[in-house]
């Protein structure tokens, strides 16, 4: 597929025409790995956009508060698909690796542009997968804000996939139509020769199905963090809700948020609009119990039975108009998620509470004592803990 050789001699043996003699790296394999990766990237991109819209709502595109499991499925799918993509991505890189050593490195401006677009695709896709996994591991080896960079580079991934498809489309079609035992590796001639190509076909299939098996294995041992029936298989799951006493993991503790003193202070008050409530007054208001999941942007999710006061009842008492977007503000002084906007579709939903209890018990400090927001179909980072006031945006 590559045009090797040229007037100037290659600078290193790896650039020589016969540096990669294996014929396993055939368009048959490259295109199939690319197709699987393309589907995975599409799933990750769409679910990523949905998650982004939850965190950065658009006035003209209000998101619904249902279904209750919406964000849980969305983000579970996002993370599971991203993790499963890793072996497919590595196999795809391996299948085209010799092209990295094409000589001459650049033949003309068009060739330079083509190589640049492929480089961008590989770098951006690798960036998304590496930062995604490191974020799950809470290993922040970078200076940028993860959600901002992950979102920006996602557009670069999708854009470079489209550009790559546009540039390589004839080869994609050719590779798709080729046979696993094709022995001629050339831009214009892909022939089947079962006798000569049998062993190569076996190796190509081993790489393809091995990568798919690796993706399946990764899913099996990690997806239990969001798919409870597979919790027992979660040998590599970053979270194990089934092992947590309340059933709901904790990302940010009261200690790390710096609220240990303020949440237990006798001076604690909740301000909603123009009304102020003590904890005793909140407990005296009509209480409801709802079963809702906490669904984290990191993919894990877990359901709990939350008890407390309907947010809409408090908004009415505080004189906040029905169509107002409000902001729940935490006692946490600073932090990316120390406050969260709540649009009317969520704030007026009967299942949206300012919760005082989880599983029949008073909220623990780390789960947001004394008051936390809980709403359906919403990222966990927006379920503000240690709420001190609710105000109109």
């Amino acid at each position: 597929m590559s045009a090797r050789g040229g007037s100037a001699p290659p600078p290193l043996p790896v650039f020589a025409e016969d540096a990669f003699p294996s014929r396993t790296r055939h368009p048959w394999l490259v295109v199939r790995l690319g197709a699987i990766l393309g589907v995975a990237i599409t799933v990750c991109f769409v679910t990523g956009i949905v998650s982004h819209l939850h965190q950065h709502p658009l006035a003209w595109l209000p998101l619904p508060a249902g279904p209750v499991w919406g964000y849980r499925v969305n983000q579970g799918l996002h993370v599971a698909t991203g993790l499963a993509s890793i072996p497919i991505f590595v196999a795809k890189l391996w299948s085209v690796y010799p092209h990295l050593f094409t000589w001459p490195a650049v033949r003309d401006p068009r060739h330079a542009l083509e190589r640049l677009s492929v480089g961008l695709l590989a770098a951006a896709t690798g960036f998304e997968l590496v930062t995604g996994v490191l974020n799950l591991a809470h290993l922040y080896l970078w200076s940028f804000l993860f959600p901002v960079a992950h979102y920006a580079v996602a557009w670069v991934v999708v854009g470079s996939v489209l550009l790559h498809l546009a540039v390589k489309w004839p080869l994609v079609v050719q590779g798709w139509k080729s046979r696993a035992d094709a022995t001629v590796v050339d831009d214009h001639e892909l022939e089947a020769d079962p006798a000569a190509g049998a062993e190569e076909a076996v190796t190509r299939r081993a790489v393809l199905w091995g990568s798919v098996a690796a993706a399946a294995a990764i899913t099996t041992v990690t997806v239990g963090q969001s798919l409870r029936p597979l919790g027992w298989a979660g040998l590599l799951a970053p979270r194990s809700p089934q092992d947590v006493p309340t059933g709901i993991p904790i990302n940010r503790t009261a200690a790390s948020a710096g609220v240990l003193v303020s949440i237990v202070s006798d001076d604690y008050r909740l301000r909603v609009g123009d009304q102020v409530f003590t904890l005793a007054q909140l407990s005296a208001l009509p209480q409801v119990e709802v079963e809702l999941p906490i669904a984290c942007v990191e993919g894990w999710s877990a359901s709990g039975v939350w008890g407390g006061v309907r947010l809409r009842d408090l908004l009415d008492l505080g004189g906040i108009p029905q169509d107002a977007t409000v902001r729940a503000v935490s006692l946490e002084a600073e932090g990316l998620y120390s406050s969260a906007e709540v649009t009317p579709s969520f704030s007026r939903h009967p299942d949206t509470l300012l919760a005082l209890r989880l599983g029949g018990q008073v909220l623990s400090h780390d789960h947001g004592y004394p008051v936390r927001l809980i709403a359906p179909n919403r990222p966990g980072v927006l379920q503000t803990k240690w709420v001190s006031r609710v105000e109109i945006v």
């Binding site: 072996p87 951006a124 557009w155 999708v158 690796a214 990764i218 590599l236």
Partner: protein, 149 residues
């Protein structure tokens, strides 16, 4: 051709939109840090992962009998995939952090368990293949067709 141009044009627009997101969030996106990380990822992929994969493939081609290579390749690819996901969890300093609910699994031990499961599966597959070959050899020697059980 025009369809490809449209798709390519949409691609360029999407890339530009991604770049714009960086420019609009200069402080949070840290463009130099982001660019450095992109380069680091390329180095990790092309100069660490790929040479390791090539070395593993070379070793399989030389150390493993042809009949077993396919199964060994699949087993190695599966374990390598699990390793790429599990290692960051195993090495994270945030393991079992202050909340006691993050990265709570014994990941190194579990990677060992998964390696044992894969090795067992590989051994069973190789035994199955050897038995099938023996049946086929016997059938060839006696001039009968092996049953399709």
């Amino acid at each position: 051709m025009s369809g490809r141009r449209v798709v390519g044009g949409i691609g360029v627009a999407a890339i530009a939109f991604g770049g714009l997101q960086v420019l609009l969030n200069l402080e949070a996106a840290s463009p130099f840090g982001l660019a450095a990380f992109l380069v680091a990822v390329v180095i990790l992929d092309d100069l660490v992962l790929m040479p390791l994969a090539l070395a593993a493939g070379w070793l399989v081609g030389r150390a493993v009998p042809p009949a077993a290579r396919s199964s060994v390749r699949v087993a190695l690819i599966v374990f390598a995939g699990l390793l790429l996901v599990g290692l960051p969890f195993a090495l994270s300093p945030s393991r079992d952090g202050e909340s006691g609910t993050l990265l709570t699994q014994p990941y190194v031990r579990n990677l060992g368990v998964l390696a044992a499961i894969i090795a067992t599966g590989l051994a069973l597959d190789l035994v199955r293949r050897r038995a099938r070959r023996a049946r086929e050899d016997r059938a060839t020697a006696t001039g009968t067709t092996p049953s399709l059980e």
